[in-house]
Symmetry: none
Subunit: 200 residues, 4 copies
């Protein structure tokens, strides 16, 4: 039984890997289900034992890749080494962006498809309660909701700003853009905190 279950998991992964590879190299609409199954070494009909259709696979793939990426970023950055909370945030963001820099297909695939809803679910899936952890890490006094708004704003902004920079080097290369980006992130963070303190 365990053996059978293992086998199914293996095929599931083969299909997802195959799909990811094809989606990012040929584009989603130019990738057929036959392509995906073939690349995975499986028959066309087998696809339908694991996914309802191509759209179903796509959704699952986005969530999967996003949560993997976040988990990896969390495991990379050792938050404890930084005293300044701003530095912690920047370390986390850099960890994510460096992954994208390494794997541009991943960026291309995830970014413009990642709505807040999907992202929040992926975060939770990668590490349930991680948003709470952030609240602990960052010694800002914010409500859960305010923290969510801050994280949302920063993530979306950073993602958008870096998309063309990483993929196209436009309007300037990633390495040159980094200082501008870090300064912008610090400014954003402070804007959320200052606002907080000034409200009190």
């Amino acid at each position: 039984m365990g053996r059978v279950e293992q086998n199914k998991q293996l095929k599931l992964h083969k299909l997802m890997d195959s799909a990811f590879h094809l989606f990012t190299s040929k584009g989603i609409s130019r990738t057929s289900i036959s392509d995906i199954a073939g690349q995975a070494g499986l028959a066309k009909g087998t696809f339908y034992l694991y996914f309802h259709d191509k759209y179903d696979l796509q959704q699952k793939l986005i969530a999967d890749r996003a949560s993997k990426m976040i988990r990896h970023a969390l495991s990379c950055s050792d938050f404890s080494q930084y005293d300044d909370p701003e530095d912690k945030v920047i370390a986390f963001i850099d960890a994510i962006l460096d992954q994208f820099q390494e794997d541009k297909a991943l960026l291309r695939f995830i970014n413009k498809r990642l709505s807040w809803g999907v992202f929040a679910r992926a975060m939770d899936q990668a590490d349930p309660g991680v948003l709470g952890e952030f609240a602990d890490i960052l010694p800002y006094k914010m409500s859960e909701k305010e923290m969510e708004i801050a994280v949302y704003t920063i993530i979306e902004m950073v993602g958008a700003a870096c998309y063309d920079v990483i993929l196209e080097g436009e309007p300037l290369p990633y390495e040159e853009y980094k200082p501008y980006l870090h300064r912008s992130i610090r400014a954003l963070l402070r804007s959320f905190v200052e606002n907080k303190t000034s409200e009190e």
Copy 2:
């Protein structure tokens, strides 16, 4: 002759309008060329007298809609009424976002497809030299290149941050998000200026 040429322009616009309507209501991949021509009241073959294929039309449509939107935003906001340069920028951004709020299809269509390259071309098409105007309006001492980076960063960030907010009301409604957004923009602007002065 003039009559014929006018007629062709009319058909071109009919096709683009028809395509925009279908792209935003059904999705691009689910819209066939036959649909577009039919909706425009033209024969399928006529499409190919105006566009090379669906992708060609798509590109032209993005650039067209983006430049129209920017031109409209520029004509709406009376920059002279604001003394503070920050206020001018925020007025411009609000003019754009209000258009998106009014026409969500436009946002859905433009945003995730607007690369820096397309945007720059659209800006130039809408109002050549508009970036220079910005430099005049904003009394920050920046080079053309630095101004470009600043505008790029802000546009991308704002666009991304507002996408889900306007379309889904997630993680919070547009009206509630506005104060956070304005504060973030001010912070970003200052980060670019402070950096400038600290360098000097």
Copy 3:
């Protein structure tokens, strides 16, 4: 398994027969793939499981029909009954021409499409080593290459000369043309042999 494979063979033949019938009655370019599949009682898409495109089918059809025709001619004529090698050759040619006379569509389809390359392959497919047999039958001392040239010349000449005669009865009917043809063939054969002997 055998059942499935058998079924596929059946469909392959259905498609080829259907195509041959349509090609010869309507012409190749006026025959659509949809026609072929429909006539064969199969769906349009099924065609593409068996052939890459119409050209692929056409090539295979020519080779198939040519080799069948040659095999049939070889089985019809009992070479041993003739002492004179010339008579053997004429018997073989008559066997082919009689087939064409019976099945004019076959002639129309094969003749003007039969290049030497296709013919040689078809010969080899119908009966590998048949050219060698010819060399044995005909007691002329020729090299393999010279035999090839002789066979090529005669086949091409006879095919061409009989095309309009069989199909149109122009410039005279087949039965009336036969004596002229036989005399011409004998003359050609002798020209190859005499040349041989005069060289020696």
Copy 4:
């Protein structure tokens, strides 16, 4: 009027030349009427002022090119220099084949499309009564009909035999094939004459 008529002739020729060039380089079915008109520097609609459709043009083109080719061959070879009638025939055939050797597109276009009917008409068009001339040149006592059969047989046989040789060099190159061919022609000629004499 003469000017107008001249202009029409010019356009007719432009269209035929354009068509010939495209037919032989891209293939007939892959050449559209739009292509032909465009290459000729004329508008699509103009085509229909000169030809009923593509098939009409094709027929006229074959007859035109065939008669031009024959006229050229007749003008090239100076029959009077040869005493032997066989030499005269071979000179005529070589004149034709050399044209084909020079202009392989012409061969490719004409050969497999040249039925006896078209050929006879082309001969007559090129030089009415030329067959009669042949009869005079060749001092064989033949009726008009027998001469026709002889010419037909030789032309068809030579054309077919040389097609692959000239175009593909298969089964051997043209220059190497020539001696075999000449011997074959002489044999054929003699077969017609001998038969004649033996009948008498």
